[in-house]
């Protein structure tokens, strides 16, 4: 299987990501799937900071960062310009230029939500990739709208009264699906073939596409750097992060674990959940069971 992946590295090694950084895997796999004819708009966040400390860059495709909350709007402008220059000046004749936006969960589900909703609703031909590490990792692990229930972060700390984050994770894929866009998918860095197929499909489809990829974060979740891929796999196997796509309104599970593992096996590997009691874990398991039933996992 690995031999089918393009060898060319459009995301250069030597960037300043942490050892075991999942965001770097997202960027590397995305570019392998999308190829050279790609322009990237990147929101402020870990991925932006670690890849472009001037005068260095890890990007071997044209890349732009403007601000935290506007990657989707910047990508809208890029897409419109490509269209306009194609029509008026004959640039990119017969070529398909992929416009890809990257945003973290904070930059996508919180501060960048309005710009994203606008871009999706307007129907720009772009792929928006939300690399989801479930908190504001670049500023030191503060909770976002995408932080899961009961996870401890620096702004949703587990204390003697409050058990970490008290709200469930915002359901971004379904919110994006409600925009009526042609393609929505979830993915995991631990299932690279599944993810790359989704990126390819998203690029080929005419119109907006949204992919949310779960990306374990060694510092924010609290686990040894060598275990990033393993953590991603455990999340999928426990059913906390189901892999699916919604293509033109048709829902399809793209990977179904043959046997789900208990949520405890996933939670116990991470410091952000170490405060959970047996009752907490049982509550979480019930919630996941219910969700998996709903999603057909």
């Amino acid at each position: 299987m690995a031999r089918q992946f393009p060898r060319e590295e459009l995301f250069a090694p030597g960037h300043r990501g942490c050892a075991g950084c999942g965001a770097a895997i997202v960027a590397r796999l995305t570019l392998k799937a999308a190829g050279k004819n790609t322009i990237v708009a990147n929101a402020t966040g870990c991925l932006e900071v670690m890849t472009t400390p001037y005068p260095e860059t890890a990007w071997r495709v044209p890349w732009m960062h403007v601000a935290f909350e506007n990657a989707a709007a910047v990508a809208s402008g890029i897409e419109a310009a490509v269209k306009s220059l194609k029509r008026k000046r004959g640039l990119y004749e017969g070529e398909k230029v992929n416009v890809i936006a990257f945003g973290g969960d904070g930059g996508t589900a919180d501060i960048g939500f309005q710009a994203l909703s606008g871009a999706m609703e307007r129907g720009h031909d772009m792929v928006y990739i939300m690399y989801d590490n479930e908190a504001y990792m670049n500023t030191g692990v503060q909770r976002s709208g995408s932080t899961p229930y009961m996870a401890s972060t620096t702004t949703s700390p587990a204390g003697s009264v409050i058990r970490g984050e008290n709200r469930p994770k915002k359901n971004m894929p379904m919110i994006m699906a409600a925009h009526g866009i042609p393609y929505v998918a979830t993915a995991s860095i631990s299932y690279p073939e599944d993810f790359m197929n989704k990126v390819k499909k998203a690029c080929e489809i005419d119109g907006p596409a949204f992919i949310q990829i779960l990306q374990p974060c060694t510092t924010g979740w609290g686990y040894p750097a060598a275990k990033t891929v393993e953590l991603g796999r455990l999340a999928v196997k426990a059913g906390i992060w189901p892999l699916y796509e919604i293509e033109n309104g048709e829902y399809r599970v793209t990977y179904k674990p043959s046997k789900r593992i208990s949520i405890e096996e996933y939670l116990k590997t991470q410091k952000r959940y170490r405060h959970l009691t047996e009752e907490d874990i049982e509550e979480m398991q019930n919630l996941i069971n219910h969700k998996c039933q709903e999603m057909g996992i």
């Binding site: 322009i39 860059t57 044209p62 402008g77 306009s84 230029v97």
Partner: protein, 387 residues
Amino acid sequence: MQNVKVITGTSAAAEAAKLADVDVIAAYPITPQTTSVEKLAEFVANGELNAEYIKVESEHSAISACVGASATGARTFTATSSQGLALMHEILFAAAGMRMPIVMMNANRALSAPINIWNDQQDSISQRDTGWIQLYAENNQETLDLIIQAFKIAENENVLLPVMVNLDGFILTHTVEPVEIPEKEKVLNFVGQYEPKHAYLRPEKPMTQGALGDPEWYMETRYDVQKAQDVALNVIKDIHDKFAEKFGRAYGNGLIESYNIENAETVLITMGSLCGTIKDVIDELKAEGKEYGLLKIISYRPLPTEEIKEALKGAKNVAILDKDISLGLDKGALFTDIAPFLKDKKTVNYIVGLGGRDIRKANIKEIIEHTENEAKDTETKWIGLKE
């Protein structure tokens, strides 16, 4: 043959963007800018303008989309006003720092609170330090002429800065005046085609734009913008002269315009449509044998301090009229920027027309009278204030 249309300032702005054959427009409606983006939408819908029109969900996204489009190599236009400009604030810095030659029309309007849709210039003045070039139009013809020149200034290889062309809300945006519309070919021949040379997003030559500038590099990028603003002083003058030659309309030297200064001991300084009222007053008083002058600031950023000093060398009293106020200092921006260069003169600051308060000829005469007879040096006086 001349093609003269009787149109509003917002229509003049839309005509100018059409004449410059912009590639991408991203805009969001706001009073009193709205009619300009409606006009542009109409041009696109009728096939009169071949552009991508992004109907964004906010002004923040309008300017963000413009940055993306401009970086990709498209000639890019947007328009806004007041609260919309304030919402753009963060990205205005990015647009200038990343050297994007975006052209924007801003319909000058007061800022909340209290909410007020009428004219003053607090909105653009509050964006003073973003790195944008700021030009101010006196009338609808100047609006059209400045926007055409703005593309050429912004895209000049030694400038590469975004340009904001300001026109007074309602006073110009909703008032019709005869405006000569030049031929499209002549305009295109004047502005040329935009082709980014240094930085662009093109897959055949990957570049990174908007990188992290740590303490080793940040100051230099800010200094580069300052140098580009310095260069812009000459570029604006030069482009103005070329424009005047080609289209037969001139506005002072492109940076400032003097009106009867050479005969006057007392000179008024201001920007925008108020200059028209002041010129009328000067003419009336001249008929009575009294000489007063006006110095109209067209380019507020870059501010042509040398030219201003030179133009005022014969003046004794200078009244500086601001449609904005720095609260806590009790001075307007023009005054704080210009008075330090005029230490040998009596300089008086007048705060006028905030939130659309009418400024009449009688107010201008009151200002002249006060400046000459009662005012103390560096005094501030609010005109027409109910106490």
